[in-house]
């Protein structure tokens, strides 16, 4: 997914705000999780670790991918890696590891 550099997402340095990058990571990571996990399961974010690598001076795009295999038979952590790149320089500006808690949905009688 892509985000345009516009005033509403800037910091005091005129680059894309660190937390706007976090928001992109959460959106990309969350929607990827929603469409990837089995229909029988649900997810909720538990936490994340992020690194700000460079100033984001242009439009940016995020790529979210699952990290490692998951045993769907029980509730557990589902790790999602997200990288964000500058669309003009193609430099990686941000990296996140989001921890999702994925569990089987409760059956409704």
């Amino acid at each position: 997914m892509r985000v345009r550099k516009q005033r509403a997402v800037l910091n005091h340095l005129g680059s894309v705000h660190a937390i706007a990058l976090c928001n992109m990571a959460e959106l990309a990571g969350g929607t990827m999780t929603e469409v990837t996990i089995p229909k029988t399961h649900r997810w909720i974010p538990k936490g994340m670790t992020v690194e700000y690598l460079r100033k984001a001076n242009h439009d940016v795009y995020a790529i979210a991918e699952p990290e490692g295999a998951v045993d769907w038979s029980k509730a557990g952590e589902y790790k999602v890696g997200v990288i964000i790149k500058d669309t003009e320089t193609n430099d990686e500006v941000f990296r996140a590891m989001i921890t999702m808690w994925v569990s089987p949905k409760k059956m409704v009688a």
């Binding site: 005091h12 994340m48 992020v50 700000y52």
Partner: protein, 147 residues
């Protein structure tokens, strides 16, 4: 103390917040209100509003991250030695409970040796709901350079 602290003292919390949101527009998304800004401590309140809710109707995880960044960043700015610079290098956050009310973010720098900090420092932030329940914690890594 820093220019930012002087501005906070002179302008007062409300005008200070408005100016800060002009300089860094993304903070305005959480309509923050400063309660405290001092060397070693910052407290920011964020009112519950529909605009910052998630699909569950609670305060969005990233709105909490934004409040944490604001409290930690301003506290770092007013706490480091004169002439020093800082930039956030990363953070680790934990979502502990759903936030269903106004929330308060507190950056606590009481354990940091501000007069001798150089390189990466870890700034802890806690966010509580109206009942005082902790809903979120963060450890924000700030890179400080003494000029």
């Amino acid at each position: 103390m820093s220019q930012l602290w002087n501005l906070y003292q002179q302008a007062g919390a409300d005008a200070f917040t408005q100016m800060l949101c002009q300089f860094a527009p993304y903070f305005s998304t959480i309509t923050p209100k400063f309660v405290t800004l001092d060397k070693g401590k910052a407290v920011v309140e964020v009112p519950f509003r529909r605009e910052i809710t998630n699909h569950l109707g609670t305060v969005h995880a990233i709105a909490l991250c934004n409040a944490a960044e604001l409290a930690a960043g301003t506290m770092t700015d007013v706490s480091i030695p004169a002439g020093a610079r800082w930039i956030p290098a990363g953070m680790t956050v934990k979502y502990l409970a759903k936030a269903k009310s106004d929330v308060t973010a507190t950056a606590d720098g009481s354990q940091i040796d501000w007069d001798n900090c150089h390189g990466d420092i870890e700034v802890p932030v806690s966010i509580t709901d109206k009942d005082g329940k902790e809903v979120f914690t963060a450890s924000i890594t700030m890179n400080v350079k003494i000029s």
